[in-house]
Amino acid sequence: MNTFLLSITSPDGHLLHEKVYRLSLRGAEGDLAIMAGHIPFMTTVQKGEVRIIRADESVLTGTAEGGILTVTETETVLLSSGFCWDT
């Protein structure tokens, strides 16, 4: 299973910094999913659910109030000043 490095950062610090299998969220033009080997890409993030499938196949979900998603060859970064994990 190919993984990629995902960082979720808010003013409260790094909320996640690990290798994951898949990231799904709502981008500027609709729902999208990022997997390993995605082309360099940038979009704004709409308010909604963020779903992460980790390398061990467990699932993490959270809610973003908005933000910026940047995909580079080395790392995928989700910046959001309003992000919280679902409990």
């Binding site: 960082s7 950062t9 808010s10 003013p11 409260d12 610090g13 790094h14 981008g27 500027a28 033009e29 082309i39 360099p40 890409f41 940038m42 979009t43 704004t44 109030e65 908005g66 933000g67 910026i68 940047t70 580079t72 060859e73 970064v77 910046l79 959001s80 000043s81 309003g82």
Partner: protein
Amino acid sequence: MGADTKSLRLRIKSVDSTLHLTKAMGLVASSKIRRAGDAMQKARAYASAVKAAVAPLASGADAANSPYLRTDGDRTVLIVIAGDRGLCGGYNANVFRLARQFPDARILPIGKRAFERFGGTLYSSETMTPAAGLSLAQELCDGFVKEEFDRLGIIGTRYVSMMTQEADISWVLPLQKPENAPRSGMIFEPDAMTILNAALPEYVAGLLMAAVRESFASEVAARRMAMDSAGKNAQAMIDELQLAYNRARQGAITQEITEIVAGSGQG
């Protein structure tokens, strides 16, 4: 032994209660330093990540028409970050001194001391949340786009070390076009300018929260230093007064003995 020793005793008591107060405030500041330092590091990391994300957007030719890059006019809005309390040495005074260099600027205060000086909406410099920062940033970005003002700056305090903090101004808007920001064939959805315009409130909020957290860490460090030095001064003053009190007491006793001896000699 009379009025002199009594007044000295009262002064010693008064300085001693000041010493207790400075010790208590110093201890409170010490307990907050670690938490404030952690919050500062996290907010700094977020601000530099947002800066890095915005750089490739602002550097492109397609962003040249963004309203956030206009550089005309000089109507200034300044966010002034001071403390919620005093007793922190020159921390608040240094910030206000810097703000005085911009007499025509509209001031948005953060911190109770700044609010008392400039009026407006009260935001606590200690407990301001990222959500409040984002809402203020959104408001400011809307104002900048509507050309209500032409530049936005933040006056806060830069944390150099536990011993040194410096009042500092950083300009946030208009956005500076970075040189040589890497874009490396990145795809923008829907396009770079739309993302830039949508991301700017996050960018301003990131810089604002970093400045607020850094200023609070500076305030706590400044208060600890101020209370430490006030405590030392109070202790030195108590030692001096105690010496004067002992001398006065000794003098009074000596005089009393002399009077008794003189009295018994006459008898």
